[in-house]
């Protein structure tokens, strides 16, 4: 065999190398959570071990993804003055000293590179007239997507699944019989080819890759490209595998999905493509590395523009943080302390509350309050995690009545749930649906009036409880079915307080404020809820944590840990409604008269803070509301409106995380763009809390930040498109945009863009930490994940020193002082 033929037809890869390549390809897909718990996910998390510019080039070459704002967008920022020449010059200096501003500006005129690795389907489509027919790629995605939705269905259909042999087997059974695509594409012989496919996914992968002669060095790129062509369902399969891993199990569904997509390519290769197409495709495969390198060169200057955009934000923040506005006058004891979630929406409210009531202190903490639990509503069958997606729940919160009438209550709840289900089956059953419509259809006119003209939302008690039940039920923690032992309670309580940096100086009232959004008819509502609580309301976590910290025995145990909570201190749970900025307080029953007075005062402050926050938020949501009352009315209406696709802006705009004492940021207007986590190094001599913050809340913030980033820069792949077209799939798996197509993940355009422009600025997270330089560096050095994120420019870490001291940026193991603008 001479060198010439060897180059055009390389030897087939070994089975072992194929298995390795398959595993590697599957490991590059990040999970996507279902709609009822849509935790923010960094869709690029699996690529963190690559420099971001390299990862971007790889995704561009394999999936046509763009991980940067478009050049037109950069131009807009430049013309608006959002990116200045100084920013550009500074960004250039950071990277390539010889790069001039003029060069960078000229770069925006060049069209971006768009070449990518074709799949067999792409190669065939290239020679077809797509203005007059549908594309193979579209039909394949549709077929795979519909099958996945049917297989994974979580509550849409009523046709029970019968085989548990796995996704690939189900697909093979279906595709060998379903004539749909064959008829549509005019290829009636296809079913024969499908029926001849090997029975297992692994065999198929080996056979197909061998049959098409995919060379070993192109395999990682090709397999990854296959997965990127069905990225939505691939992410869903990755979620299954993520959950399995959390519970110490394995899940191979993603590999089966890869096999399915590969099978399509193989069938097209052997039954549809002619020899010229095959040749062209095989040749294109060998170009994958060159493509990647080409994209990296092409995008190099875009990354400088991106950095300039970030500098524009960071410089100002650096300046503000260096000169704290108001060192807190050392008040002997705050009247109330309120802990909020680190969520950027809390910043606006905290600022308003502090302005309203100077005697109030606010703190920032992950909104699940450090309670790693799942929550199972009374009488129901489903326990849902109430903690960040990175963790597995260790305990369960159940509910118990305080009146000893749980027996009848259980019957009532289950009866209501059961009736609702029978009613649903009556409504949608194939024989009964006709009579249902004739008998009850006219009554829907009343519902249309209520929802559509009077703007009253439908009330869904999805847990079967009546309001009277909810008032009586209290959440309780269970560990393996039994109440928590005292030591565990004390450890949990100590962890919460240390995490909050609140181990001394307790106010008489300490309010633990979870948060939730309020919206109507919004399938993606959970993305607006508390991400730290698994995309749910933080209410249960706050109630559990407050009850724990109020327990006398727990407090006695805490004293042994040298945390002395004064006898007159009460912890109160609360819920911050991020849409209307109403704060509800819970579990106030056992308060004495003095406590009640304090609560009254607090309610007044909260109401004042709500007015201020309403006005601030209304500027972007209801610009015509100029008074606090009008703003409140407008926001309340949006929260109840079933036709409102943008009840609030969520975490749009998020750009930084500040880990410091509030005194450092109090008085600063951070514009709802900063996550705030309290940290006091003096209370953390061994830096255990710092390590915890940098490995948990910081990662959660980074996930949120990159979810917004990725959904903004490439909404086609990492966002869910236009909400006006959203079509809920599989009960609560996710959404389609329109009829079908791939499962859509990430944020909708409505969460990122108004009618004219992007509201979210895609900036990588800037983390500011007030702690010793060596302590921070030591934590980074200890954790590979952190090294990856920092060294590969997925986020930036800054250190805040004492007031007026320069702020330093961590780069490659060194601290560089940052100049002010």
């Amino acid at each position: 065999m001479n060198a010439q033929t060897q180059e055009s037809r390389p030897a087939a890869a070994s089975p072992e190398s194929i298995t390795t390549a398959v595993t590697a390809a599957c490991a590059q897909i990040a999970p996507a959570w279902p709609l009822d718990q849509s935790v923010a996910v960094n869709p690029l998390w699996p690529l963190r071990n690559l420099p971001i510019a390299h990862a971007a080039a790889r995704l561009a070459a394999r999936g046509g993804v763009r991980l940067l704002p478009s050049r037109a967008e950069f131009r807009r920022y430049f013309q608006q003055g959002r990116i200045t020449r100084e920013n550009l010059a500074a960004a250039g200096r950071e990277a390539v000293p010889e790069c001039t501003v003029e060069n960078l500006i000229a770069h925006l005129d060049r069209p971006p590179a768009t070449a990518r690795l074709p799949l067999v389907a792409d190669q065939i489509d290239r020679a077809r007239n797509l203005t007059r027919r549908t594309a193979w790629t579209e039909e394949i995605v549709h077929q795979v997507s519909q099958l996945c939705a049917a297989e994974f269905d979580l509550g849409q259909g009523d046709w029970p699944r019968t085989d548990a042999a796995g996704l690939y087997a189900a697909w093979r059974y279906n595709v060998g019989r379903d004539r749909g695509v064959a008829i549509l594409m005019g290829r009636l012989g296809l079913a024969r080819h499908f029926r001849a496919l090997p029975p297992s996914a692994d065999e198929l992968i080996q056979t197909a890759l061998g049959g098409m002669g995919v060379p070993a060095e192109s395999m990682p790129a090709y397999l990854h490209a296959l997965l990127l062509s069905v990225n939505g369902w691939a992410s869903w399969c990755a979620y299954r595998s993520w959950q399995a891993n959390l519970h110490g199990a394995q899940d191979a569904t993603l590999r089966e999905l890869l096999a399915i997509r590969l099978a399509w390519d193989w069938v097209l290769y052997s039954a549809v493509a002619d020899e010229t197409t095959r040749c062209a495709w095989r040749h294109a495969l060998t170009q994958s590395a060159a493509l990647e390198a080409g994209h990296e060169r092409d995008q190099a200057q875009d990354w400088l523009w991106q950095r300039a955009l970030e500098l524009g934000y960071e410089r100002k923040l650096v300046h503000d943080l260096k000169a704290p506005h108001a060192e807190i006058p050392a008040a002997p004891r705050a009247r109330v302390q309120l802990a909020f979630c680190i969520d950027v929406r809390s910043e606006v409210f905290r600022r308003a509350l502090e302005a309203e009531a100077p005697g109030v202190e606010t703190l920032g903490f992950a909104g699940f309050f450090g309670v790693p639990m799942a929550y199972q509503p009374f009488g129901t069958d489903l326990a849902q995690p109430q903690l960040p997606g990175l963790l597995a729940p260790a305990m369960t919160a159940i509910e118990r009545g305080d009146d000893g009438r749980d027996g009848p209550r259980l019957a009532s709840v289950q009866n209501r749930l059961g009736s609702a289900d029978v009613a649903r089956r009556f409504r949608w059953g194939n024989t009964s649906t006709f009579s249902y419509v004739e008998a009850t259809g006219l009554l829907y006119a009343v519902k249309l009036v209520r929802n559509g003209l009077l703007q009253r939302p439908s009330t869904h008690a999805t847990n079967g409880k009546r309001p009277a039940d909810s008032a009586r039920l209290k959440p309780e923690l269970r560990l393996d079915g039994a109440p928590l032992p005292l030591e565990a309670k004390v450890a949990l309580a100590a962890g919460i307080l240390r995490g909050l940096s609140l181990t001394r100086g307790f106010a008489p009232l300490v309010v633990l404020t979870g948060h939730a959004s309020q919206a109507s008819n919004n399938p993606q509502q959970s993305a607006l809820d508390c991400g730290a609580c698994g995309g749910h309301s933080g209410e249960v976590n706050a109630r559990i944590a407050a009850a724990l910290l109020n327990e006398a025995t727990v407090r006695a145990g805490l004293r042994a840990e040298r945390i002395d909570i004064p006898g007159d201190t009460r912890f109160i749970p609360a819920l911050h409604n991020t849409t209307t900025d109403d704060v509800r307080l819970f579990d106030l029953a056992a308060l004495d008269a003095e406590g009640a007075t304090r609560i009254d005062a607090l309610r007044g402050w909260l109401d004042g803070a709500r007015n201020r926050t309403n006005l601030e938020r209304a500027a972007r949501l209801a610009p015509r509301a100029r008074t606090a009352a009008a703003a409140r009315q407008a926001l309340d209406r949006r929260a109840r409106d079933w036709s409102q696709l943008r009840p609030e802006w969520g975490l749009a705009g998020n750009a930084s995380l500040i880990v410091a004492q509030r005194s450092r940021t109090r008085g600063l207007d951070l514009a709802g763009r900063a996550f705030l986590h309290d940290y006091d190094e003096r209370q953390d001599p061994d830096h255990a809390v710092l390590e915890q913050i940098m490995t948990a809340p910081m990662l959660v913030s980074q996930w949120i930040n990159l979810q917004y980033y990725a959904s903004t820069v490439d909404n086609r792949v990492y966002g869910s498109g236009n909400k006006t077209l959203h079509n809920v799939v599989g009960g609560h798996i996710g959404v389609f945009e329109g009829n079908g197509g791939d499962l859509r993940i990430g944020l909708s355009l409505q969460s990122l863009r108004d009618g004219e422009q992007w509201v979210h600025e895609p900036l990588r997270l800037a983390v500011f930490i007030q702690a010793g330089a060596d302590a921070i560096a030591a934590v980074i050095a200890r954790h590979e994940t952190l090294r990856d994120l920092v060294d590969h420019h997925w986020l930036a870490i800054y250190r805040i020193g004492k007031a007026q001291e320069p702020i330093h940026r961590y780069r490659a193991g060194r601290w560089l002082a940052v100049g002010s603008p």
Binding site: A115, P118, Q123, I124, R126, R128, L130, R132, T134, A150, D158, W159, P160, R161, D178, R179, V181, I183, R187, A273, D274, T277, C279, Q287, P377, L382, N415, L417, S419, V422, R425, F426, W428, G429, N430, T431, T433, V437, E438, A439, G441, A445, V449, H460, T462, N463, W642, T724, L725, N727, V728, V729, G730, G731, H732, G738, N739, G740, D754, G755
Partner: protein
């Protein structure tokens, strides 16, 4: 006996389309004017609804005749002058259009505000075409001249086309709209030809004149052809199999467009038949065609509906099935029930689409519900047997139309079967619900008789039996699917049901071959490899 009176007051009805037309042409200028245009539109739509409801009340209490006709003071050949018709059907339809139109416009305004997929100006275009569609539909409803009716229906479809292609960059949106375009034009040709034949046969295009001279005993071949054409048009307009694909795929337009289409426009096939009732009742072939198409579609679409994976597509299949059921009622001459179905389905489907986002809550509630034990096969057999006995009784006693009543018996049977499988506590509730459903149904059915009389004709026993058997088969499948074991038996059926029996794929394939749409260009995959152009596939 229907008594008809000529009354200039009937021309007031023309105010409805005129008002919508006014809203459609409202001047649009700077942002301020655009906001005002929305508010004015909503005010006008609200005004229309109020007037129609008031007129309905007045008519119900103090009408001088069943049908009021407004004529122009001209004497045109063949009665070609436009005229309006105000009768219970007109009023019911106007109230429906006024109400649904107002609700959906109100919804659209906020739904599309700040839409990232369109501009402010695009939304004004949307508002205008929406109002224009309402104007056309209401013109059709009040028309008393046959050709005006046909032209208004065609115009409504053309206006709707603009809404369906609101996102004109989406290939699937254009493909679905294109299919609808072809089917609608076919239907338009049928209606206009049918109307012309009727007009020429009776020497007048005025509906009242035509209906007054219908003689069931003297049904000529021309009339048979004309009524059959109209029945075919209704079948096409109601998206019956295999012409249903576009109805399922218009999820490529914003939700309120789907709501308008599924709650308003697709019903117009049913309206057409109810409007032509005096002519259709004696038309045996047309009636049979409606029953056959309706039954086939109702049964198959209801079955396919249960396999759908997304909420909006399931709702669309449900519409398809419901339209089939409405056409069965039309074909049996039960025009009162057909109108009831039309109205009830409109409200129901408008609400279902507009609140489709609640699906996540519904599905979470389902996931939280403790698993039902399910009823054993013997139980289903007992329930089914009891249902069969009742239906047999209906046939023997010859009560009303047993074919249609059988459906509600089967519905009740499946309700009781499901409840029994979910525990004894629920059975009592379900029985109460069943009684309530039957009573409600009978109440609506008898009220509807006051509004639109059923035709005197009676369908053949064979037809009734066929309908009953078709729905009974559906019940059997339903009972089998209540258990995993039953579903296993039906496994071979699943891929075909799931594929919608490939009817739409065939239709789409033919469309692409014969008259393909122009789809937006999609970016081709460029690779570093040299591009080789040649024919890869036929």
């Amino acid at each position: 006996m229907i008594d008809t009176a000529v009354s200039p007051g009937a021309w007031l009805a023309a105010g409805v389309p005129a008002t919508y037309l006014l809203a459609a042409v409202l001047a649009v200028g700077p942002a301020r004017a655009r906001r005002a245009a929305w508010s004015t539109t909503l005010a006008l739509a609200g005004f229309v609804l109020l007037v129609v409801v008031a007129a309905g009340a007045y008519y119900g209490l103090a009408s001088p005749a069943n049908v009021l006709i407004g004529r122009l003071p001209v004497n045109a050949v063949l009665g070609l002058a436009p005229s309006v018709r105000l009768d219970p059907l007109t009023l019911a339809m106007l109230a429906l259009i006024g109400f649904i139109g107002l609700v959906i416009l109100n919804y659209s305004r906020r739904y599309l505000a700040g839409d990232p997929g369109s501009t402010d100006v695009g939304q004004q275009r949307y508002r205008r075409w929406f109002c224009a569609t309402l104007a056309c539909i209401s013109s059709m409803v009040i028309a008393n001249q046959l050709l005006v009716l046909g032209v208004a229906l065609a115009a409504a479809s053309l206006c709707l086309h603009q809404l369906l292609t609101y996102y004109s960059q989406r290939p699937q949106a254009l493909l679905a709209a294109h299919k609808k375009f072809l089917i609608s034009r076919m239907a338009d040709v049928f209606i206009l030809t049918g109307s012309t034949l009727i007009g020429l046969h009776y020497g007048s295009f005025q509906m009242d004149a035509v209906f007054a001279s219908v003689d069931g005993a003297a049904f000529t071949p021309t009339l048979t052809v004309a009524t059959t054409l109209i029945a075919c048009a209704a079948i096409l307009k109601c998206a019956q199999l295999p012409f249903h694909g576009w109805l399922i795929q218009v999820m490529e337009a914003p939700t309120p467009v789907s709501a308008l289409l599924h709650a308003g426009i697709v019903n117009m096939g049913g309206f057409l038949i109810i409007r032509f009732a005096p002519l259709m009742a004696p038309a045996g072939l047309a009636q049979a065609l409606l029953v056959i198409a309706g039954t086939t579609t109702a049964v198959l679409a209801a079955l396919i509906m249960t396999t759908r994976v997304s909420i909006k597509v399931m709702l669309a299949w449900s519409t398809c099935a419901q339209m089939g059921f409405m056409l069965i009622e039309c074909g049996l001459g039960l025009y009162n029930l057909a109108l009831l179905h039309l109205l009830a389905h409109s409200f129901y489907k408008a609400h279902s689409f507009l609140s489709a986002g609640e699906m996540v809550s519904v599905s979470i509630q389902r996931a939280r519900t403790p698993a039902a034990t399910g009823m054993p096969a013997a139980g289903w057999l007992a329930v089914g047997g009891a249902g069969a006995l009742v239906i047999l009784g209906l046939f023997v006693a010859g009560v009303g139309h047993p074919g249609v009543f059988a459906v509600i018996v089967l519905a009740v049977a499946s309700l009781l079967g499901d409840a029994a499988g979910s525990g004894r506590a629920l059975l009592g509730r379900a029985a109460a619900a069943a009684v309530a459903v039957v009573c409600l149904y009978l109440a609506w059915a008898s009220l509807s008789m006051l509004w639109v009389p059923a035709a005197g004709s009676r369908a053949s026993t064979a037809g009734q039996v066929a309908i009953t058997l078709a729905f009974a088969a559906l019940f059997v499948l339903r009972a089998m699917l209540a258990s995993a074991a039953g579903a296993r038996r039906l496994r071979r059926l699943h891929p075909h049901v799931y594929g919608g029996f490939y009817l739409d794929q065939m239709f789409t394939r033919l469309t692409l071959l014969i008259w393909p749409p122009r789809l937006p260009a999609r970016p081709r995959v460029a690779s570093a490899a040299p591009v080789i152009h040649e024919k890869a596939s036929a």
